[in-house]
Symmetry: C2
Subunit: 143 residues, 2 copies
DNA sequence: ATATACTCTCCAGCCAGCTAGAGATATAAG
DNA sequence: CTTATATCTCTAGCTGGCTGGAGAGTATAT
């Protein structure tokens, strides 16, 4: 009967279980991504074990490419009650669009780089000191 | 005959021609990406017109996904004389590899997101308050 | 009581690539 | 000469996601 809640975790224990640095956990709490259940009389943070799945969700979402802001939005909706799932799906859809966009950009960049390399290769034999990539840089800056 | 070099440009003119903010040009100079030809007696920067193609090269390379560090390396080699083209090609090849890697990552993320969305969709009808994305977050954090 | 480990807050800095503002001086035009 | 504009240096901030250290206090085991 000595402790009413053996369940509450101090930050170090949360760190151990979540594999996250103590600093990061504090940082998340400051940012509002997670909450403490309460504090000890001395001021130590005490978390319910549910913080672990929350942290897990945060890391998984991060790994999936969501920013902490995105995640905070989602968790905020989740906390406020109804049907976070809808907004989660929405966020994820958005992210997918962003990913598609980014991949297209990257594809373009890649093609451009390849063109430039090919040009350089062509020139190479003829004119070893001329570098088309650098030299004719004058034109297409802004457009 | 009044001016020996009409050719030298002040920073504002460079800004006009390059479409880059004055601040950015100063910033590039501080970073060593470009150099001033000299200064006026009053301390105004004076650039040779060649700085324009250099800036153009910088921006083009940036648009192609190179970092300022990358660009600085390339320009450093170019400045030091021999055959920058080789190292430029090398950098570009490297960047292409990075792009490929990044695209693979993105593809994976996208697939994961799609899986999660699909899961959520399945559950949706059955159990409107259950969000698989959030709820069963407990497992695969670190691995 | 004390040694040890844990935790607290606050402040600072890192990466990149700028951007903003203050306050001083330079130059060009009239 | 005056005024307007351009430029100077210096300091500081922004975004995102932490990370590090100082210095002080707390909890626990013996």
């Amino acid at each position: 009967m000595s402790e009413a809640q053996t369940e509450l975790l101090r930050i170090g224990q949360v760190s151990d279980h979540s594999q996250l640095p103590v600093k990061t956990i504090r940082f998340y709490e400051e940012r509002g991504l997670i909450q403490t259940a309460k504090r000890t009389s001395g001021g130590f943070r005490l978390f319910t074990p549910s913080v672990l799945s929350r942290l897990s969700f945060i890391r998984r979402s991060q790994a999936l490419g969501l920013s902490l802001n995105d995640i905070q939005d989602i968790l905020g909706i989740a906390d406020s009650g109804q049907r976070p799932c809808k907004s989660v799906r929405h966020k994820f859809q958005e992210k997918i669009s962003e990913i598609d966009e980014r991949m297209q950009q990257l594809q373009q960049l890649k093609e451009q780089l390849q063109i430039l390399i090919a040009e350089a290769d062509e020139r190479e034999g003829l004119d070893a000191d001329y570098c088309p990539i650098i030299e004719h840089a004058g034109e297409s800056t802004s457009s």
